[in-house]
């Protein structure tokens, strides 16, 4: 009887140690799901933004290409024979050549004349390598 009493009075052992409650687990799960959802939204947003940027860059490329073609056409028109002829007649007052005469001159050509500086392209001076400050410092030491 006493054994039975002891058995009845002894509290039942807990099957698992109680580390977390139900509520925190539920909150944690909710947060994870929310984060996953936000991650998915962020990825979709990023993909959409990238798609938008691609579209914008493609449009820019198309626009630049069109502009290049337009400029090529304008240059071609400006250098066309008809325009050159028109400018020569209207603006410069030139006329088509009548009788032409080719002259052969049996004389030495003049010595090569110096070209005025303004017609010379910028000379590319060789770059002098400059040493760094610490190299200069080291150079001062007797052993370097």
């Amino acid at each position: 009887m006493s054994t039975l009493d002891r058995l009845i009075s002894r509290p039942l052992p807990r099957p698992f140690p109680r580390i977390l409650g139900v509520r925190p687990v539920l909150v944690g799960a909710f947060l994870v799901v929310a984060c996953l959802g936000l991650l998915q939204v962020a990825q979709t947003s990023s993909a959409t933004t990238t798609g938008y940027n691609l579209q914008r860059l493609e449009d820019e490329r198309f626009a630049t290409q069109a502009e290049v073609h337009q400029l090529e056409a304008e240059v071609a028109v400006l250098t066309s024979i008809d325009r050159i002829d028109r400018e020569a007649r209207d603006r410069l007052g030139m006329v088509p050549a009548g009788n032409t005469m080719t002259l052969e001159v049996h004389k030495q050509p003049p010595e090569q004349q110096l070209v005025p500086l303004r017609f010379l392209t910028e000379s590319k001076e060789p770059q002098v390598e400059t040493s760094s400050w610490w190299q200069k410092l080291l150079n001062l030491l007797p052993f370097f």
């Binding site: 959409t48 798609g51 938008y52 579209q55 198309f62 626009a63 290409q65 069109a66 502009e67 073609h69 337009q70 090529e72 056409a73 071609a76 028109v77 250098t79 066309s80 024979i81 008809d82 032409t100 005469m101 080719t102 002259l103 052969e104 001159v105 049996h106 004389k107 030495q108």
Partner: protein, 577 residues
């Protein structure tokens, strides 16, 4: 109680059965739509939701030999209106008003372009400028769609129209070099597969799959724009002066076969192209390579080259000209009905005597004559690469319908049909030392894989160098040995030959219709250019020497000066130091 439950149960049962039956029918229908007919509806859905567009690469440019553009590509837009959307009158009126300022058309003109149909897209403006197209896109007018396209632009205007040709709305070459070089100039179109809305517009950020197009190549020709313009102006002036029906001028480098200019009339204008007019179809061909003619006395240089190359005659060999030659029952007279007595071969060419040519032809014989005719390139296309090139007609002694009189007439250029390009190529062989060069018009093709330059190609040796020198001297005597010859050019030694031939008609020749021509090259010491002038059916003067030769005399100094060829006899200004 059980009785009441039984009455309630059969009604419920019936309802249940009806619901089950309906459910089964729905399920069966769903199964039929989604499983059995899945493929069919998937394709329909894809057609409905997806659109396909061809993406054309910018078409390659056509450049002259110095790199000046003859044909370029500009980006433009075609403006379409959705007829269904514009069935709303107010929307249509507002839209037309908005578009009119950009398109430069009245609103009623824009509305009229919709036509009577109520479905589909209507093209209201084609090939409008890029900036205007972008403006319309940004305006966002409902029902308006702008489709990117490209258009061909010619900065030199109508220069070399027949040679360049033109493209259709799908940017495919239809005539001329645009068609002949379609593979190089057109590249390869790509495909854009995109998700679209119910109006057919692409859904922003929707599904897109782009297969890139293959870039096109630029083509640089051997044509020089200055020489081409000079040739076209000279041809137009000669046709107007002589009341002619047309003609051709070709300028070529005899040593390489490079064509510097090729002009033909009648022709079309690139700036006034009307493909809907079928009566103008005949203007689209390049007559310098497609049209045949009988060359007349120019052919005598081929006959003489043959005889000299075979060692049968020399420039001083003589024959007795009685003014008449009898062959196969036919009597052949000189063009001026002259009788010249003892005549040298050089004089034969100078006076362009038909009887002399017949005599030389008889010395050569049919077998050798036609062998050389074919070696000179007659009877086969030159291989220049231009579409529609004709082979010409040469009836040889092997043909069943050949008669001995054909040898006689062929020897002075009648009864044989050639193209202008064949004729100038043959005479170029005389000018360059005896080699038949393949004429070419494409100098190089510059594409994404680099530049492919055309090299001059020798087809075959036709005559020896010695024969070439001899004929050149004789042709020089033709021009300079005849007083006041129409082809003389001050300061330069010219070699050339005139030609006048009757036009063949069914049953014979038209006595009052001729083709006049002149082929000449200069300078004689080192030929840098050869020119063929052909004027068709001139009224008034009807001789090669008076119609075609003066055109050469006007054109040659411009070309020689432009090419930087010093004259053979410049005026000496100062001698010594």
């Amino acid at each position: 109680m059980p009785q009441r439950m039984a009455r309630v149960s059969w009604r419920l049962l019936l309802l249940g059965v009806l619901f089950c039956a309906a459910g089964l029918v729905l399920t069966a229908r769903l199964a039929q739509l989604q499983i059995v007919s899945h493929g069919h509806y998937a394709v329909e859905a894809e057609d409905e939701h997806m659109g396909v567009e061809k993406v054309f690469p910018p078409r390659g440019a056509i450049l002259d030999r110095n790199g000046y553009p003859l044909a370029l590509t500009l980006d433009t837009y075609d403006i379409y209106i959705n007829r269904k959307v514009w069935q709303d009158e107010k929307l249509a009126a507002d839209g037309a008003e908005a578009l009119s300022s950009v398109l430069g058309k009245r609103p009623d003109e824009i509305l009229a372009a919709l036509g009577p149909d109520t479905e589909g897209d209507a093209l209201v403006a084609g090939s409008i400028g890029y900036d205007a197209g972008r403006k319309i896109i940004e305006m966002g007018v409902p029902g308006v769609k702008a489709t990117a396209t490209i258009v061909r632009f010619h900065p030199e205007g109508d220069l070399a129209s027949a040679l360049q040709g033109f493209v259709g709305r799908d940017q495919t070459g239809l005539a001329g070099l645009e068609a002949d070089l379609q593979d190089q100039l057109g590249g390869s179109a790509g495909t854009l597969y995109f998700e679209r809305d119910s109006m057919g517009n692409p859904i922003p950020f929707g599904y897109r799959q782009l297969t890139q197009s293959e870039p096109a190549s630029d083509v640089r020709l051997t044509i020089d724009r200055y020489i081409q313009e000079a040739a076209e102006q000279a041809l137009d002036a000669a046709i107007e002066t002589n009341g002619a029906s047309g003609g051709s001028i070709i300028v070529m480098e005899p040593k390489t076969g490079a064509i510097l200019a090729m002009a033909s009339r009648p022709s079309f204008k690139l700036s006034q192209l009307d493909l809907a007019d079928e009566t103008k179809m005949e203007l689209y061909r390049n007559r310098a390579v497609t049209d045949l003619y009988e060359p007349g006395s120019v052919m005598k240089v081929v006959t003489m080259s043959t005889a000299i190359d075979l060692g049968l005659v020399t420039p001083n060999t003589t024959y007795e000209d009685t003014g008449m030659a009898y062959v196969g029952g036919y009597a052949i007279e000189n063009w001026d009905f002259s009788v010249n007595g003892t005549t040298t071969m050089t004089q034969l060419l100078q006076k362009s005597l038909n009887t002399g040519a017949v005599w030389v032809g008889q010395q050569i014989g049919p077998e050798h004559f036609y062998e050389y005719v074919q070696r000179f390139g007659f009877g086969e296309p030159t291989g220049v690469g231009l579409g529609g090139e004709a082979a010409g007609t040469v009836r040889t002694s092997d043909d069943p319908e050949w008669y001995p009189s054909d040898l006689a007439t062929n020897s002075f250029g009648q009864g044989i049909s050639v193209t202008p390009l064949q004729m100038i190529t043959a005479v170029a062989a005389i000018a360059n030392g005896g080699e038949l060069m393949r004429p070419y018009i494409v100098a190089d093709v510059v594409g994404p894989d680099g530049s492919h330059e055309t090299q001059p190609q020798v087809v075959r040796r036709v005559i020896s160098e010695s024969t070439s020198r001899t004929l050149t001297a004789m042709m020089n005597d033709v021009v300079e040995g005849v007083p006041s010859h129409g082809a003389r050019v001050q300061g330069y030694h010219i070699a050339g030959k005139t030609g006048t031939s009757f036009i063949s008609v069914p049953g014979g020749y038209a006595p009052d219709r001729v083709i006049t021509s002149f082929v000449g090259f200069a300078p004689v010491s080192d030929p840098r250019m050869i020119v063929l002038v052909k004027i068709d059916e001139p009224q008034g003067e009807r001789l090669g020497g008076t119609v075609a030769a003066p055109v050469f005399a006007e054109l040659a100094p411009k070309i020689l000066s432009y090419l930087g060829v010093p004259p053979d006899a410049p005026a000496l200004v100062q001698q010594g130091g």
